[in-house]
């Protein structure tokens, strides 16, 4: 799996520059999810991010959770999809479902 943003390389560069970083990884997909399992997003404490986990549909919510994970250090699992009560706010227009693991790089 390769991508244009070089997510993990960028994450390491940010860490080297002294920025705390969290990683979000798609761990499971059902139906027509936009990005396959393994897709990643790296987020800095200031909200700067690279990569994608959904092609844009739920990135905002994931970035907010990632920033929280940087603050409290707790890994979390997030689920998005049509069966989720959040679907009306941040859902996947494609009707797919995804599960995302978010963790701080220690």
């Amino acid at each position: 799996m390769t991508d244009h943003d070089k997510v993990l390389e960028t994450a390491e560069t940010w860490l080297d520059a002294g920025h705390p970083v969290a990683l979000a990884t798609v761990i499971k997909t059902w139906g027509s999810a936009p990005r396959p399992a393994g897709s990643q997003l790296a987020v800095r404490k200031d909200g700067t991010f690279v990569g994608s986990v959904s092609g844009g549909c739920v990135e905002g919510a994931v970035i907010a959770e990632a920033m929280d994970a940087i603050t409290d250090g707790k890994p979390r699992k997030l689920a998005f999809g049509v069966s989720n009560e959040q679907a009306w706010q941040v859902g996947l227009a494609c009707g797919g479902q995804i599960e995302i693991y978010v963790e701080r790089v220690e």
């Binding site: 993990l8 390491e12 860490l15 761990i27 499971k28 399992a37 393994g38 890994p75 693991y101 790089v105």
Partner: protein, 226 residues
């Protein structure tokens, strides 16, 4: 994730080694598994994920793990530093292929025409003898010249290359099939060669032909994984 693990993961990827990052979902414990590592059930599951080129969750000894596959990039060897090779090499690089262009004609194989690309100015059979030709390799011949194309096709047919394509009309391809048959390849082996090369999208310009070739290469790569 520990920073040291991220560093080791990036190092493996920079060197083109296929690795799997395993995350235990209930505890967050993580482990980097190298290609070929069969130390335990988790490592074995990782090898299978690498072979399928598919990340996903597995259950090992009662615990759920996410296996994130970081495969070595697929390789594309282009024989013939011709006009079509210019857009094809760029598109393949964008799609994260590791691209090598081979052409013994030094007037064609110049870094001006192929900037930032691995170029080998040698005969295809000599060049391919020194390059890995494995199941993550695609070979495309573009010269129309049997002297250059045929030795590359012979080397590709003897390998596990997932895709072999040869530029040329139906007539050119029929002549090629005749030569390869005479060289001892049976019909099933020769049928591995996609000729005329590329998906039939009515491509005309070199860039359009490159799109049709690249689409067929990706179709084949992903069909194998599915």
């Amino acid at each position: 994730m520990k920073r040291d693990l991220l560093h080791r993961l990036n190092e493996a990827r920079a060197k083109g080694r296929g690795v799997v990052l395993a995350i235990r979902l209930d505890t967050g414990v993580q482990r980097l598994i190298e290609r070929g590592d069969m130390a335990d059930a988790l490592a074995a599951a990782a090898q299978s994920a690498l072979a399928r080129d598919q990340s996903g969750t597995v259950e090992v000894d009662g615990a759920g793990w996410f296996l994130n596959v970081f495969n070595s990039p697929p390789k594309l060897y282009i024989v013939g530093a011709v006009h079509i090779a210019q857009p094809l090499s760029q598109m393949a690089a964008l799609a994260a292929f590791d691209v090598t262009v081979i052409d013994p004609r030094t007037a064609f194989a110049t870094s001006e025409r192929f900037p930032n690309l691995h170029l080998i100015a040698a005969w295809p059979d000599e060049a391919l003898a020194d390059l890995p030709l494995d199941a993550r390799t695609a070979v495309v011949t573009l010269t129309h010249d049997p002297k250059l194309d045929d030795p590359a096709l012979v080397a590709a047919l003897k390998s596990e290359a997932f895709y072999i394509g040869a530029l040329g009309s139906k007539k050119t391809h029929a002549a090629r099939v005749g030569r390869l048959t005479a060289a001892g390849f049976d019909a099933a082996a020769i049928a591995r060669i996609r000729g005329p090369v590329g998906l039939d999208i009515g491509a005309v310009s070199p860039a359009e032909i490159a799109v049709s070739i690249m689409a067929q290469v990706i179709e084949t790569l992903r069909a194998d994984a599915a």
